[in-house]
Symmetry: C2
Subunit: 198 residues, 2 copies
């Protein structure tokens, strides 16, 4: 294969993706060689423009394409609620469940003593600034139902306790040890309905 350097590089790039081993990466690369020109071009342009045009909203951390954040700049949303999650994928799972129409705040991780993730490593300070602006009436803590997620929720709740807002935690439906990202919409809906005041 060293005689086809572009193909070798393509295999390496595929192999960097989650859940893709060397063997699968090879199959994908050969499939690209067999693809129609326009499909490869669309693929290439999507990769390029995803990286160039998609960025994190500086306010909430959700991904946006272009200038407007699909969440913060959507004026039909309930702007007095903030759903705090660990990752974009978590926020997306909630969006796709169609049960929530407020704002988000993405922390980009969970507190973890073992992994050395501390409060200053997370997107917490900007959340406090949003609360201080005074429009938020409810903060829903939607970190994962795991030890790290619970720790994060408890920590964020402790920072927010002096503000005049409702702090709730997702409750019913989520099983301990599972991942929010892979929860089905109904479970997410039940969890949202069953949120509890902390």
């Amino acid at each position: 294969m060293e005689k086809l350097p572009s193909l070798e590089q393509l295999i390496e790039s595929f192999a960097r993706l989650p859940g893709v081993g060397r063997r699968s990466a090879e199959r994908m690369a050969y499939a690209v060689l067999e693809m129609k020109d326009e499909d490869v071009q669309r693929f290439y342009e999507a990769l390029k423009s995803s990286k160039e045009n998609i960025s994190k909203c500086p306010r909430c951390g959700y991904y946006k394409e272009g200038n407007a954040c699909p969440i913060c700049d959507d004026h039909e949303r309930e702007t007095d609620k903030v759903f705090v999650v660990s990752s974009f994928k978590d926020a997306l799972a909630i969006e796709n469940s169609n049960t929530y129409h407020g704002l988000y705040h993405i922390l980009f991780g969970s507190l973890s003593a073992s992994k050395g993730v501390y409060p200053e490593d997370l997107n917490i300070e900007p959340l406090l600034n949003r609360i201080k602006e005074g429009n938020i009436k409810e903060v829903i803590l939607g970190t994962n139902p795991t030890i790290d997620g619970e720790t994060t929720a408890t920590y964020v709740a402790s920072l927010l306790k002096d503000y005049d807002i409702n702090i709730t935690r997702l409750g019913y439906g989520l099983s301990i040890g599972s991942s929010l990202e892979y929860s089905d919409p109904l479970t997410l809906e039940k969890a949202l309905e069953g949120r509890k005041k902390l």
Copy 2:
């Protein structure tokens, strides 16, 4: 997701790859968003140059990058043997096994009445032209040991029978590392037929 068209397109492109469902495609696309700029750049440049710079050798059908075919233009190979296979991946498997150092000829498919693949759909005519040049002493038929593969081998052999060359077929038998207990009866029969004196 319709608010992030580049990402949606990227997910669709990943989902076109073999063995990648919608869910895996989403994970891959989000992983791209989290990748370093230089890794994404290397990825899309590999995609672009694989498609632009890699082409099939007009003589043997093997993939080549640039002008020289890694097989036909490698002057250290035995140029009097041609290994006939159905696909590039088959030829690659043989290359990687390091057991063969002759030439290849890729048919790009197998004859199949049920799938409507006929001799004129395969890369057979150019093989005959190579034989007519007179340098080839042996043609090894390496199509798959399936009904379609056997049909193809038999058909190609019938076309070559008037030329003064050896026509051989890959040997059948037990795969190394396989278990006799789980081998199918036909394989066992072929293994018995092909037994060798020790």
